[in-house]
């Protein structure tokens, strides 16, 4: 397999009363080996549930209704969606691991850091001795630049700061040398100076470990700093996907353009900020045509009737918009 992860035609639905509501619609993603892949979008666009679906962590009543997720594991190609619970547990933490948005709530408050690190190790290496585990844990804590690692091992979560907790989460996630790290808004709950520390750390760990990262965030700045390839999500679909430089320099989709304008006009010359009118349509209330049509400045009649396909606007640059599909008249 050429790619590390291939998501094909992924659909996720939920139940609202007796109705099935679509949350994610025909998403295709390829994550290359040793690549950092950014997924960006606003709340409710489906970026986090995509990550949860990869690890089989979708909460009921959400479920994958269609599609496939192929993963190139250490032991050969695997279809993640058809794994049994036991097989999935083998993958989690060992092959693919995840760090979450809130480091304050994702560590267990009643166990020490040591116990939580040992749990991650002993689950996948049942024959490892305590001294080996301790050594490995200390080594990981040093790699994520925790001062006084011995003392930190015997601490509880409430004794540590948010930045330290996120470092520990990263250390636990990487303790079994996974090949893929899913980072769901890893710095959103942290302050800017701590965010800078964590992003620098993740960049250097990627270089050292050959780990691929899927970085899920709403912050285009974080994407620009850390990612090589980017997919922009809107209302359960990918609307644009390209190399990071291409995406920021030759932005094609009006939504991406709007997001970029909204953030970069901050502190600019004009007092009035650029805004995208309206709100993101919630799941299940999507129109027949382009889902961005109601908020788009360049909306045409056709946009309201037909859904544009994700087509190549430039080599390697995918965009879901009639303006860039190459078949539109001038």
């Amino acid at each position: 397999m050429e790619n590390l992860l291939e998501i094909r035609n992924l659909k996720i639905t939920t139940l609202r009363g007796k109705n099935t509501v679509r949350l994610l619609d025909k998403v295709d993603l390829n994550v290359k080996k040793k690549c950092s892949f950014g997924v960006v979008g606003e709340s409710g666009c489906g970026k986090s549930i995509t990550a949860n679906a990869i690890l089989g962590l979708l909460p009921y009543p959400l479920r994958v209704s269609e599609g496939s997720i192929l993963y190139d594991s250490k032991a050969g190609e695997k279809e993640l969606l058809s794994l049994s619970k036991k097989e999935m547990r083998e993958v989690r933490g060992q092959e693919i691991s995840m760090i979450f948005q809130e480091p304050m709530t994702s560590l267990d408050p009643i166990f020490t850091v040591e116990m939580q690190m040992f749990e991650a190790l002993s689950f996948h290496h049942p024959h490892m001795s305590r001294s080996e585990m301790r050594e490995r844990s200390l080594e990981m804590l040093r790699r994520v630049n925790i001062p006084r690692p011995e003392q930190t091992l015997s601490s509880y979560a409430h004794q540590l700061s948010g930045g330290q907790l996120q470092r520990i989460m990263i250390a636990i996630a990487l303790i079994n040398d996974p090949r893929l790290l899913l980072a769901d808004e890893p710095t959103t709950a942290l302050d800017v100076t701590i965010q800078a520390q964590i992003l620098k750390l993740m960049n250097s760990l990627k270089e050292q470990n050959d780990t691929s990262i899927i970085m899920i965030t709403h912050d285009l700045g974080v994407i620009a700093e850390t990612c090589e390839e980017v997919a922009v999500f809107y209302a359960g679909q990918i609307v644009e996907q390209a190399n990071v430089v291409e995406l920021f320099k030759n932005t094609a989709h009006p939504y991406t353009l709007g997001l970029l304008k909204a953030v970069t006009s901050l502190g600019g010359e004009t007092r009035k900020l650029y805004t995208i009118p309206g709100i993101v349509p919630p799941g299940g209330q999507w129109s027949q045509g382009c889902r961005f049509a109601d908020r788009c400045e360049k909306c045409m009649e056709r946009c309201r009737k037909e859904m544009p396909a994700l087509t190549e606007a430039a080599p390697g640059h995918l965009c879901r918009c009639f303006l860039h599909s190459g078949e539109v008249e001038a």
Binding site: S161, I194, A196, A224, E225, F248, G267, I279
Partner: protein, 327 residues
Amino acid sequence: MSGQKKDTLLDVRNLQVYFPIRRGLMKRVVGHVHAVESVSFSVRPREVFALVGESGCGKSTTGSAILRLIEPTGGQVFFKGDDLSQLTEEEMRLKRRDMQFIFQNPYSSLNPRMNVWKLLSEPLKVHFNLSPQELRARVEDMLKLIGMTPDQLERYPHQFSGGQKQRISIARALITHPSFVVADEPVSALDVSIQAQILNLMMELQQEMELSMIFISHDLNVVRHISNSVGVMYLGSLMETGDTEEVYRHPAHPYTQALLSAVPSHDPLNKSKHIVLEGDVPNPAAPPSGCPFHTRCARCTAECKQTKPELKEIAPNHFAACHHCGQ
């Protein structure tokens, strides 16, 4: 700060807020969290003064203490010449007609059992004695200002999106026509595309109603856009203050420099050169001696560890609290 100037609306002098730490069976006070440590600044009429800093630096506490939502431990706040710390509870309540607060999270600051009409008419009923017709007219005027229509009056908060809820909170704060508001992180709970809408609305209303505002935020880009002057806080103290553009163009304090450089750039080819600060913010219950920033500062010297630097003017209307600035 010098005496009461004619052109200041709000003058904060040496504001101090300490929270007691209680331990044991008798709840003895064993120490204090120094949330706000001797903060002084002033706000002119129609000025937007921003307080920026990281979480736990005391910016929200400062905002609440000005309106006496939290009782300050020491210092004075003058509003239109009156010393707020001398007022009784009742007098303070009447003052709040003219001084309002916009909260961070519209999801939790609006009562879910009150519809828009009740939410918006309540402040008017508390502060004014209006006839039903006048009441109706005032509420509808305000609705128009925030871009909503009278047919939404019967709806409840859960029927609105986050951005609309924040519009309602803003309307609720501004409906008594205050001359001063404290806005505590009014856009940080919102999505990027909605943030811009709310910021535009706040700037319009600020112009139209000739408001003075203290805008509390951790988002440095937002602050640069909306404010005229800015105060940078760290561990309860003001580190640097001045006109916003001046502070952003020529940050003098090492902390401000690090803070500004930590903002991710939106250009993948031109990644910003971060000054990455080592370590964490010290515990405010046991603040370091001397300059509060000396434990993480690259320019720290023996003097910094011993004496706390005062705010001093390093350029016209630009103050920094650092021994190394302006030498």
